[in-house]
Amino acid sequence: MSIKEIEETIVEEFGYYDDWMGKYEFIIELGKSLPLIAEKYKTEENIIKGCQSRVWLHAEAEGDKIVFTADSDAIITKGLISLLIRVLSHQTPDEIINADLRFIDRIGLKEHLSPTRSNGLVSMIKQMKLYALALKTKML
Protein backbone atom coordinates (compact mmCIF):
# COMPACT_ATOMS: atom_id res chain seq x y z
CA MET A 1 0.00 0.00 0.00
CA SER A 2 1.15 3.54 -0.62
CA ILE A 3 1.70 6.01 2.21
CA LYS A 4 -1.51 7.84 1.25
CA GLU A 5 -3.54 4.61 1.35
CA ILE A 6 -2.21 3.60 4.74
CA GLU A 7 -2.93 7.09 6.07
CA GLU A 8 -6.53 6.80 4.85
CA THR A 9 -6.93 3.45 6.60
CA ILE A 10 -5.64 4.87 9.88
CA VAL A 11 -7.95 7.89 9.63
CA GLU A 12 -10.84 5.49 9.09
CA GLU A 13 -9.83 3.39 12.11
CA PHE A 14 -9.71 6.44 14.34
CA GLY A 15 -13.11 7.50 12.99
CA TYR A 16 -14.68 4.84 15.21
CA TYR A 17 -13.75 6.81 18.32
CA ASP A 18 -15.57 10.05 18.96
CA ASP A 19 -13.99 10.98 22.30
CA TRP A 20 -10.41 11.44 23.42
CA MET A 21 -10.53 8.53 25.79
CA GLY A 22 -11.34 5.96 23.12
CA LYS A 23 -8.58 7.33 20.90
CA TYR A 24 -6.02 7.20 23.65
CA GLU A 25 -7.05 3.73 24.75
CA PHE A 26 -6.48 2.65 21.13
CA ILE A 27 -3.05 4.32 21.05
CA ILE A 28 -2.13 2.75 24.38
CA GLU A 29 -3.10 -0.68 23.01
CA LEU A 30 -0.90 -0.08 19.97
CA GLY A 31 1.91 0.97 22.27
CA LYS A 32 1.55 -2.06 24.48
CA SER A 33 1.19 -4.75 21.87
CA LEU A 34 4.13 -4.27 19.59
CA PRO A 35 7.76 -5.23 20.00
CA LEU A 36 8.99 -2.48 17.75
CA ILE A 37 12.75 -2.85 17.75
CA ALA A 38 15.33 -5.56 18.32
CA GLU A 39 16.99 -5.18 21.72
CA LYS A 40 20.45 -4.93 20.07
CA TYR A 41 19.39 -1.68 18.38
CA LYS A 42 18.34 0.01 21.62
CA THR A 43 21.74 1.61 21.84
CA GLU A 44 22.90 5.02 22.99
CA GLU A 45 23.74 5.74 19.34
CA ASN A 46 20.16 5.13 18.17
CA ILE A 47 18.57 7.23 20.89
CA ILE A 48 16.64 10.42 20.17
CA LYS A 49 16.42 12.35 23.39
CA GLY A 50 13.31 14.33 24.16
CA CYS A 51 12.89 16.22 27.39
CA GLN A 52 9.86 14.07 28.25
CA SER A 53 10.45 10.63 26.77
CA ARG A 54 13.13 8.78 24.88
CA VAL A 55 12.87 7.25 21.43
CA TRP A 56 15.11 4.64 19.78
CA LEU A 57 15.14 4.45 15.99
CA HIS A 58 16.85 2.02 13.62
CA ALA A 59 16.71 1.97 9.82
CA GLU A 60 17.93 -0.44 7.20
CA ALA A 61 17.51 -0.98 3.46
CA GLU A 62 15.58 -3.97 2.12
CA GLY A 63 15.81 -3.92 -1.65
CA ASP A 64 14.62 -0.49 -2.76
CA LYS A 65 12.60 0.01 0.47
CA ILE A 66 13.52 1.19 3.93
CA VAL A 67 12.52 -0.71 7.05
CA PHE A 68 12.22 1.22 10.30
CA THR A 69 12.07 -0.19 13.80
CA ALA A 70 11.71 2.00 16.86
CA ASP A 71 10.73 2.09 20.51
CA SER A 72 10.03 4.51 23.34
CA ASP A 73 9.94 4.34 27.12
CA ALA A 74 6.52 6.09 27.15
CA ILE A 75 3.54 4.05 25.91
CA ILE A 76 1.66 6.90 24.24
CA THR A 77 4.80 7.86 22.36
CA LYS A 78 5.28 4.20 21.44
CA GLY A 79 1.70 3.98 20.16
CA LEU A 80 2.26 6.99 17.94
CA ILE A 81 5.56 5.53 16.77
CA SER A 82 3.78 2.37 15.71
CA LEU A 83 1.48 4.50 13.53
CA LEU A 84 4.45 6.32 11.99
CA ILE A 85 6.20 3.04 11.29
CA ARG A 86 3.07 1.58 9.76
CA VAL A 87 2.98 4.54 7.39
CA LEU A 88 6.66 5.02 6.60
CA SER A 89 8.28 1.60 6.87
CA HIS A 90 8.63 -0.55 3.76
CA GLN A 91 8.39 2.50 1.51
CA THR A 92 10.91 3.91 -0.93
CA PRO A 93 13.17 6.77 0.14
CA ASP A 94 11.42 9.26 -2.15
CA GLU A 95 8.00 8.43 -0.71
CA ILE A 96 9.33 8.80 2.83
CA ILE A 97 11.05 12.10 2.10
CA ASN A 98 7.89 13.53 0.52
CA ALA A 99 5.37 12.25 3.09
CA ASP A 100 3.51 15.11 4.75
CA LEU A 101 1.96 12.87 7.46
CA ARG A 102 -1.24 14.90 7.56
CA PHE A 103 -3.07 11.92 9.07
CA ILE A 104 -1.77 12.85 12.52
CA ASP A 105 -3.62 16.16 12.33
CA ARG A 106 -6.70 14.45 10.88
CA ILE A 107 -6.97 11.97 13.74
CA GLY A 108 -6.70 14.86 16.20
CA LEU A 109 -3.27 14.14 17.58
CA LYS A 110 -1.19 16.93 16.10
CA GLU A 111 -0.51 18.30 19.60
CA HIS A 112 1.92 15.42 20.01
CA LEU A 113 3.93 16.68 17.07
CA SER A 114 4.32 20.16 18.44
CA PRO A 115 8.04 20.87 18.80
CA THR A 116 7.37 22.08 22.35
CA ARG A 117 6.16 18.64 23.42
CA SER A 118 9.76 17.41 23.44
CA ASN A 119 8.67 13.79 23.43
CA GLY A 120 11.17 12.93 20.71
CA LEU A 121 8.55 12.39 17.99
CA VAL A 122 9.37 15.47 15.94
CA SER A 123 13.04 14.59 16.01
CA MET A 124 12.14 11.02 15.14
CA ILE A 125 10.29 12.02 11.95
CA LYS A 126 13.18 14.28 11.01
CA GLN A 127 15.58 11.42 11.61
CA MET A 128 13.45 9.00 9.54
CA LYS A 129 13.59 11.41 6.61
CA LEU A 130 17.33 11.88 7.05
CA TYR A 131 17.82 8.11 7.01
CA ALA A 132 15.72 7.95 3.82
CA LEU A 133 17.88 10.62 2.25
CA ALA A 134 21.11 8.89 3.30
CA LEU A 135 19.98 5.45 2.10
CA LYS A 136 18.73 6.93 -1.15
CA THR A 137 22.22 8.26 -1.86
CA LYS A 138 23.66 4.81 -1.10
CA MET A 139 21.14 3.09 -3.37
CA LEU A 140 21.98 5.27 -6.35
Binding site: Y24, I28, S53, D73, I75
Partner: protein, 414 residues
Protein backbone atom coordinates in the same frame (compact mmCIF):
# COMPACT_ATOMS: atom_id res chain seq x y z
CA UNK B 1 7.42 24.37 59.88
CA UNK B 2 5.68 23.47 63.14
CA UNK B 3 5.07 27.11 63.94
CA UNK B 4 3.67 27.52 60.46
CA UNK B 5 1.36 24.54 60.90
CA UNK B 6 -0.02 26.03 64.10
CA UNK B 7 -0.70 29.37 62.45
CA UNK B 8 -4.40 30.06 62.22
CA UNK B 9 -5.45 29.97 58.59
CA UNK B 10 -7.29 33.07 57.59
CA UNK B 11 -7.30 32.92 53.80
CA UNK B 12 -10.65 33.15 52.02
CA UNK B 13 -9.61 31.00 49.08
CA UNK B 14 -12.95 31.11 47.29
CA UNK B 15 -12.71 34.90 47.21
CA UNK B 16 -9.01 34.86 46.31
CA UNK B 17 -9.65 32.61 43.29
CA UNK B 18 -11.80 35.35 41.77
CA UNK B 19 -8.70 37.56 41.61
CA UNK B 20 -7.12 35.13 39.12
CA UNK B 21 -9.06 35.26 35.82
CA UNK B 22 -7.27 32.23 34.36
CA UNK B 23 -8.58 29.95 37.12
CA UNK B 24 -12.08 30.18 35.70
CA UNK B 25 -11.14 28.96 32.24
CA UNK B 26 -11.73 25.50 30.88
CA UNK B 27 -9.05 23.25 29.41
CA UNK B 28 -10.07 20.39 27.13
CA UNK B 29 -13.65 21.01 28.20
CA UNK B 30 -12.85 20.62 31.91
CA UNK B 31 -12.37 23.13 34.70
CA UNK B 32 -8.68 23.92 34.88
CA UNK B 33 -6.85 22.43 37.85
CA UNK B 34 -3.53 24.25 37.86
CA UNK B 35 -0.90 22.30 39.76
CA UNK B 36 2.20 23.56 37.96
CA UNK B 37 2.91 26.45 40.29
CA UNK B 38 6.56 25.51 40.78
CA UNK B 39 7.06 26.24 37.06
CA UNK B 40 5.19 29.53 37.17
CA UNK B 41 2.35 31.00 39.19
CA UNK B 42 -0.82 32.55 37.81
CA UNK B 43 -1.36 36.31 37.91
CA UNK B 44 -3.96 38.18 39.95
CA UNK B 45 -5.98 41.03 38.41
CA UNK B 46 -3.97 43.82 40.13
CA UNK B 47 -0.78 42.57 38.41
CA UNK B 48 -2.53 42.42 35.04
CA UNK B 49 -4.03 45.88 35.64
CA UNK B 50 -0.67 47.39 36.59
CA UNK B 51 0.86 46.22 33.30
CA UNK B 52 -2.09 47.54 31.35
CA UNK B 53 -2.13 50.87 33.18
CA UNK B 54 1.60 51.39 32.70
CA UNK B 55 1.44 50.95 28.92
CA UNK B 56 -1.84 52.87 28.65
CA UNK B 57 -0.96 55.95 30.70
CA UNK B 58 2.55 55.91 32.18
CA UNK B 59 4.99 54.61 29.57
CA UNK B 60 8.35 56.43 29.39
CA UNK B 61 11.98 55.48 29.67
CA UNK B 62 13.41 55.78 33.13
CA UNK B 63 16.45 57.32 34.82
CA UNK B 64 17.13 59.85 32.05
CA UNK B 65 14.29 62.13 31.08
CA UNK B 66 13.48 65.41 32.78
CA UNK B 67 9.93 65.31 31.49
CA UNK B 68 7.07 64.43 33.79
CA UNK B 69 6.29 61.01 32.33
CA UNK B 70 9.89 59.86 32.69
CA UNK B 71 10.05 61.16 36.26
CA UNK B 72 6.81 59.38 37.12
CA UNK B 73 7.93 56.11 35.52
CA UNK B 74 11.31 56.33 37.27
CA UNK B 75 9.78 56.77 40.68
CA UNK B 76 7.16 54.05 40.06
CA UNK B 77 9.99 51.68 39.11
CA UNK B 78 12.24 52.68 41.99
CA UNK B 79 9.40 52.31 44.50
CA UNK B 80 9.39 48.62 43.59
CA UNK B 81 13.06 48.31 44.51
CA UNK B 82 12.15 49.58 47.95
CA UNK B 83 9.20 47.14 48.11
CA UNK B 84 11.53 44.25 47.31
CA UNK B 85 14.01 45.47 49.93
CA UNK B 86 11.29 45.50 52.57
CA UNK B 87 9.89 42.16 51.41
CA UNK B 88 13.20 40.33 52.01
CA UNK B 89 14.37 42.72 54.75
CA UNK B 90 17.56 43.75 52.96
CA UNK B 91 19.52 46.52 54.61
CA UNK B 92 19.64 48.90 51.66
CA UNK B 93 17.52 49.27 48.55
CA UNK B 94 20.61 49.52 46.31
CA UNK B 95 21.47 45.96 47.33
CA UNK B 96 18.50 44.94 45.16
CA UNK B 97 19.59 44.44 41.53
CA UNK B 98 16.84 43.91 38.97
CA UNK B 99 17.57 41.12 36.48
CA UNK B 100 15.63 39.03 33.95
CA UNK B 101 15.07 36.26 36.47
CA UNK B 102 16.75 33.74 38.72
CA UNK B 103 18.85 32.27 35.90
CA UNK B 104 20.08 35.72 34.90
CA UNK B 105 20.91 36.55 38.53
CA UNK B 106 23.02 33.40 38.93
CA UNK B 107 24.79 34.04 35.64
CA UNK B 108 25.53 37.57 36.78
CA UNK B 109 27.20 36.34 39.98
CA UNK B 110 29.08 33.54 38.20
CA UNK B 111 30.35 35.94 35.54
CA UNK B 112 31.42 38.76 37.86
CA UNK B 113 32.11 37.47 41.36
CA UNK B 114 32.99 34.05 39.94
CA UNK B 115 35.41 35.30 37.30
CA UNK B 116 37.29 37.47 39.79
CA UNK B 117 37.39 35.02 42.72
CA UNK B 118 37.59 31.54 41.22
CA UNK B 119 40.90 30.40 39.74
CA UNK B 120 42.69 27.25 38.67
CA UNK B 121 42.32 24.43 41.21
CA UNK B 122 39.62 26.28 43.16
CA UNK B 123 36.23 24.77 43.90
CA UNK B 124 32.59 25.80 43.56
CA UNK B 125 30.23 23.88 45.82
CA UNK B 126 26.62 23.17 44.81
CA UNK B 127 24.16 20.43 45.82
CA UNK B 128 22.81 17.30 44.13
CA UNK B 129 19.30 18.78 43.96
CA UNK B 130 20.11 21.97 42.04
CA UNK B 131 18.12 23.18 39.06
CA UNK B 132 20.15 23.31 35.85
CA UNK B 133 20.27 27.10 36.23
CA UNK B 134 22.29 26.67 39.43
CA UNK B 135 24.57 24.07 37.84
CA UNK B 136 25.41 25.15 34.31
CA UNK B 137 26.62 28.75 34.97
CA UNK B 138 29.05 27.37 37.59
CA UNK B 139 30.11 24.54 35.31
CA UNK B 140 30.88 27.04 32.54
CA UNK B 141 32.89 29.13 35.01
CA UNK B 142 34.80 26.07 36.24
CA UNK B 143 35.61 25.00 32.69
CA UNK B 144 36.92 28.44 31.86
CA UNK B 145 38.99 28.74 35.03
CA UNK B 146 40.06 25.07 35.31
CA UNK B 147 38.28 24.96 38.66
CA UNK B 148 36.26 22.06 40.07
CA UNK B 149 32.52 21.77 40.60
CA UNK B 150 31.85 19.87 43.82
CA UNK B 151 28.46 18.47 44.78
CA UNK B 152 26.88 18.00 48.23
CA UNK B 153 25.21 14.57 48.16
CA UNK B 154 21.68 13.77 49.39
CA UNK B 155 20.02 10.81 51.07
CA UNK B 156 17.16 8.65 49.70
CA UNK B 157 14.61 11.06 51.22
CA UNK B 158 16.10 13.92 49.25
CA UNK B 159 17.79 15.69 52.15
CA UNK B 160 21.29 17.15 52.07
CA UNK B 161 23.96 15.17 53.90
CA UNK B 162 25.21 17.92 56.17
CA UNK B 163 28.21 15.95 57.42
CA UNK B 164 29.36 15.51 53.83
CA UNK B 165 28.78 19.22 53.27
CA UNK B 166 31.07 20.10 56.19
CA UNK B 167 33.77 17.84 54.77
CA UNK B 168 33.50 19.45 51.33
CA UNK B 169 34.10 22.97 52.66
CA UNK B 170 37.78 23.76 52.28
CA UNK B 171 40.20 26.56 51.61
CA UNK B 172 39.73 25.80 47.91
CA UNK B 173 35.99 26.51 48.08
CA UNK B 174 35.34 29.98 46.69
CA UNK B 175 31.54 30.00 46.75
CA UNK B 176 28.64 27.79 47.85
CA UNK B 177 25.46 27.93 45.73
CA UNK B 178 22.43 26.02 47.05
CA UNK B 179 18.67 26.02 46.54
CA UNK B 180 16.52 27.19 49.43
CA UNK B 181 13.76 24.79 48.32
CA UNK B 182 14.18 22.02 45.74
CA UNK B 183 11.94 22.47 42.68
CA UNK B 184 11.77 18.70 42.08
CA UNK B 185 11.52 17.31 45.60
CA UNK B 186 10.09 20.14 47.68
CA UNK B 187 12.88 19.73 50.25
CA UNK B 188 13.45 22.84 52.37
CA UNK B 189 17.18 23.03 52.93
CA UNK B 190 18.67 24.24 56.23
CA UNK B 191 20.06 27.35 54.54
CA UNK B 192 20.80 29.25 57.74
CA UNK B 193 23.05 26.45 58.91
CA UNK B 194 24.58 26.05 55.43
CA UNK B 195 25.46 29.75 55.39
CA UNK B 196 26.86 29.77 58.95
CA UNK B 197 29.10 26.77 58.25
CA UNK B 198 30.48 28.34 55.07
CA UNK B 199 31.05 31.67 56.82
CA UNK B 200 33.19 29.93 59.46
CA UNK B 201 35.61 29.46 56.58
CA UNK B 202 34.90 32.90 55.05
CA UNK B 203 33.18 31.37 52.04
CA UNK B 204 30.31 33.41 50.56
CA UNK B 205 26.97 31.71 49.88
CA UNK B 206 24.42 32.21 47.13
CA UNK B 207 20.91 30.98 47.85
CA UNK B 208 18.64 30.14 44.91
CA UNK B 209 15.32 31.26 46.36
CA UNK B 210 13.19 30.74 43.23
CA UNK B 211 10.99 28.15 44.96
CA UNK B 212 11.05 29.71 48.42
CA UNK B 213 10.37 33.42 48.09
CA UNK B 214 6.58 33.08 47.72
CA UNK B 215 6.12 30.21 50.19
CA UNK B 216 8.22 31.26 53.18
CA UNK B 217 9.08 34.48 54.93
CA UNK B 218 12.58 35.27 53.67
CA UNK B 219 14.81 37.59 55.72
CA UNK B 220 18.21 37.97 54.07
CA UNK B 221 19.74 39.67 57.12
CA UNK B 222 18.57 36.89 59.42
CA UNK B 223 19.87 34.25 56.99
CA UNK B 224 23.04 36.32 56.54
CA UNK B 225 23.34 35.06 52.93
CA UNK B 226 25.72 36.89 50.62
CA UNK B 227 23.48 36.54 47.56
CA UNK B 228 19.81 35.63 47.30
CA UNK B 229 18.18 35.24 43.87
CA UNK B 230 14.60 34.80 42.70
CA UNK B 231 12.08 35.44 39.89
CA UNK B 232 8.95 37.59 39.90
CA UNK B 233 6.94 35.15 37.79
CA UNK B 234 6.90 32.49 40.48
CA UNK B 235 5.48 35.03 42.94
CA UNK B 236 2.39 36.00 40.92
CA UNK B 237 4.30 38.68 39.01
CA UNK B 238 5.33 38.95 35.36
CA UNK B 239 7.93 36.89 33.52
CA UNK B 240 11.23 38.50 32.57
CA UNK B 241 11.83 40.17 35.93
CA UNK B 242 14.02 38.84 38.71
CA UNK B 243 16.15 39.91 41.62
CA UNK B 244 19.70 39.57 42.72
CA UNK B 245 20.15 40.56 46.32
CA UNK B 246 23.80 40.96 47.26
CA UNK B 247 25.61 42.42 50.23
CA UNK B 248 26.78 45.94 49.44
CA UNK B 249 30.44 45.20 50.04
CA UNK B 250 30.45 42.24 47.65
CA UNK B 251 28.44 44.02 44.96
CA UNK B 252 30.77 47.02 45.10
CA UNK B 253 33.82 44.84 44.69
CA UNK B 254 32.37 42.99 41.69
CA UNK B 255 33.10 44.16 38.13
CA UNK B 256 30.07 45.11 35.97
CA UNK B 257 28.25 42.33 34.11
CA UNK B 258 27.03 43.86 30.85
CA UNK B 259 28.02 47.18 29.34
CA UNK B 260 25.60 49.74 27.97
CA UNK B 261 23.43 52.64 28.93
CA UNK B 262 22.42 53.34 32.53
CA UNK B 263 25.38 51.43 33.99
CA UNK B 264 27.90 54.20 33.27
CA UNK B 265 28.95 57.39 34.95
CA UNK B 266 31.15 58.82 32.20
CA UNK B 267 32.10 57.44 28.81
CA UNK B 268 34.96 58.45 26.56
CA UNK B 269 36.52 56.31 23.87
CA UNK B 270 39.52 55.86 26.15
CA UNK B 271 37.83 55.00 29.45
CA UNK B 272 34.41 54.46 30.99
CA UNK B 273 33.67 54.90 34.65
CA UNK B 274 30.84 52.86 36.04
CA UNK B 275 27.71 53.94 37.81
CA UNK B 276 27.02 53.23 41.45
CA UNK B 277 24.88 50.43 42.81
CA UNK B 278 22.39 49.23 41.77
CA UNK B 279 22.68 50.76 38.28
CA UNK B 280 26.16 49.37 37.71
CA UNK B 281 24.55 45.98 37.09
CA UNK B 282 21.52 47.20 35.17
CA UNK B 283 22.70 48.01 31.64
CA UNK B 284 20.10 49.09 29.11
CA UNK B 285 16.41 49.84 29.39
CA UNK B 286 14.96 47.34 31.84
CA UNK B 287 11.56 45.64 31.81
CA UNK B 288 9.86 48.71 33.28
CA UNK B 289 6.28 47.47 32.94
CA UNK B 290 7.34 44.13 34.40
CA UNK B 291 9.05 45.82 37.30
CA UNK B 292 6.01 47.93 38.12
CA UNK B 293 3.70 44.90 37.84
CA UNK B 294 6.12 43.03 40.11
CA UNK B 295 5.44 45.74 42.69
CA UNK B 296 1.71 44.99 42.40
CA UNK B 297 2.47 41.28 42.97
CA UNK B 298 4.40 42.06 46.16
CA UNK B 299 1.50 44.24 47.37
CA UNK B 300 -0.86 41.37 46.64
CA UNK B 301 1.24 38.85 48.60
CA UNK B 302 1.54 41.31 51.47
CA UNK B 303 -2.22 41.84 51.50
CA UNK B 304 -2.68 38.10 52.11
CA UNK B 305 0.34 37.75 54.40
CA UNK B 306 3.24 35.39 53.66
CA UNK B 307 2.60 33.55 56.95
CA UNK B 308 -1.03 32.93 55.98
CA UNK B 309 0.02 31.71 52.53
CA UNK B 310 2.63 29.44 54.07
CA UNK B 311 0.19 27.96 56.60
CA UNK B 312 -2.52 27.34 53.99
CA UNK B 313 -0.10 25.72 51.53
CA UNK B 314 1.30 23.58 54.29
CA UNK B 315 -2.14 22.28 55.19
CA UNK B 316 -3.06 21.67 51.54
CA UNK B 317 0.19 19.78 50.98
CA UNK B 318 -0.40 17.56 54.03
CA UNK B 319 -3.91 16.83 52.74
CA UNK B 320 -2.55 16.02 49.27
CA UNK B 321 0.13 13.71 50.67
CA UNK B 322 -2.53 11.85 52.66
CA UNK B 323 -4.90 11.49 49.71
CA UNK B 324 -2.18 10.58 47.21
CA UNK B 325 -0.85 7.98 49.61
CA UNK B 326 -4.03 5.95 48.94
CA UNK B 327 -3.41 5.84 45.19
CA UNK B 328 -2.28 2.28 44.38
CA UNK B 329 1.31 1.96 43.21
CA UNK B 330 2.30 5.54 44.03
CA UNK B 331 5.91 6.13 44.92
CA UNK B 332 6.93 9.53 46.27
CA UNK B 333 10.28 10.89 45.12
CA UNK B 334 11.48 13.17 47.90
CA UNK B 335 10.31 12.54 51.42
CA UNK B 336 12.09 15.26 53.33
CA UNK B 337 10.88 16.06 56.81
CA UNK B 338 10.97 19.76 55.99
CA UNK B 339 9.08 20.21 52.77
CA UNK B 340 7.25 22.81 50.74
CA UNK B 341 4.16 22.50 48.52
CA UNK B 342 5.83 20.39 45.81
CA UNK B 343 5.04 16.67 45.49
CA UNK B 344 6.94 14.50 43.01
CA UNK B 345 5.85 10.93 42.39
CA UNK B 346 5.68 7.95 40.05
CA UNK B 347 2.82 5.51 39.50
CA UNK B 348 4.15 1.96 39.31
CA UNK B 349 5.87 1.69 35.95
CA UNK B 350 3.70 4.24 34.16
CA UNK B 351 5.92 6.75 32.38
CA UNK B 352 5.46 10.33 33.68
CA UNK B 353 4.81 11.54 30.12
CA UNK B 354 1.93 9.08 29.70
CA UNK B 355 0.40 10.17 33.00
CA UNK B 356 0.81 13.84 32.09
CA UNK B 357 -0.92 13.46 28.71
CA UNK B 358 -3.98 11.78 30.22
CA UNK B 359 -4.20 14.23 33.16
CA UNK B 360 -4.06 17.12 30.67
CA UNK B 361 -7.04 15.65 28.85
CA UNK B 362 -8.90 15.94 32.16
CA UNK B 363 -7.93 19.60 32.57
CA UNK B 364 -5.27 18.89 35.19
CA UNK B 365 -1.98 20.72 34.65
CA UNK B 366 0.95 18.95 36.30
CA UNK B 367 4.58 18.92 35.29
CA UNK B 368 6.20 15.77 33.99
CA UNK B 369 9.81 15.09 33.11
CA UNK B 370 13.11 15.82 34.78
CA UNK B 371 12.16 19.35 35.93
CA UNK B 372 15.52 20.71 34.75
CA UNK B 373 17.26 18.57 37.36
CA UNK B 374 18.71 15.73 35.25
CA UNK B 375 21.54 14.89 37.68
CA UNK B 376 18.95 14.52 40.45
CA UNK B 377 16.81 12.14 38.35
CA UNK B 378 19.97 10.12 37.58
CA UNK B 379 20.64 9.99 41.33
CA UNK B 380 17.24 8.34 41.85
CA UNK B 381 17.68 6.26 38.66
CA UNK B 382 14.37 7.44 37.19
CA UNK B 383 13.51 9.11 33.84
CA UNK B 384 11.54 11.83 35.58
CA UNK B 385 8.53 12.29 37.80
CA UNK B 386 5.01 13.64 37.83
CA UNK B 387 5.08 16.81 39.90
CA UNK B 388 2.12 18.54 41.48
CA UNK B 389 2.92 21.90 43.05
CA UNK B 390 0.36 23.93 44.95
CA UNK B 391 -0.37 27.55 45.58
CA UNK B 392 -2.72 29.39 47.94
CA UNK B 393 -5.44 29.51 45.27
CA UNK B 394 -5.59 25.72 45.03
CA UNK B 395 -8.20 23.76 46.97
CA UNK B 396 -8.74 20.36 48.55
CA UNK B 397 -11.44 19.70 45.92
CA UNK B 398 -8.79 20.16 43.23
CA UNK B 399 -6.55 17.67 45.03
CA UNK B 400 -9.50 15.23 44.97
CA UNK B 401 -9.82 15.81 41.21
CA UNK B 402 -6.14 14.95 40.79
CA UNK B 403 -6.56 11.75 42.81
CA UNK B 404 -9.53 10.74 40.65
CA UNK B 405 -7.50 11.56 37.55
CA UNK B 406 -4.66 9.34 38.73
CA UNK B 407 -7.07 6.45 39.23
CA UNK B 408 -8.19 6.94 35.65
CA UNK B 409 -4.56 6.95 34.47
CA UNK B 410 -3.91 3.68 36.28
CA UNK B 411 -7.05 2.19 34.73
CA UNK B 412 -5.95 3.14 31.23
CA UNK B 413 -2.40 1.83 31.49
CA UNK B 414 -2.86 -1.35 33.50
Amino acid sequence: MTTVAQHKIVLDVEHIRKDFPILSRKVNGKHLVYFDNAATSQKPQPVIDATNKYYSFENANIHRGVHTLSQEATSAYEVVREKVRAFINADKSYEIIFTKGTTDSINLVASTFGRTHVGEGDEVLISAMEHHSNIVPWQMLCEEKKAKLKVIPINENGELLMDEYKKLLSSKTKIVAVAHISNSLGTINPVKEIIALAHEKNIPVLIDGAQAIHHEKVDVQYLNCDFYVFSAHKMYGPTGVGVLYGKEELLNAMPPYQGGGDMIKTVTFEKTTYNELPHKFEAGTPNIAGGIAFGAAIDYINSLGVENISAYEHELTSYALQQLNNVPGIKFIGKAKERASVISFLLDNIHPYDAGVILDKMGIAVRTGHHCTQPLMDRFRIPGTVRASFSFYNTKEEVDTLVKGLHKVIDMFK
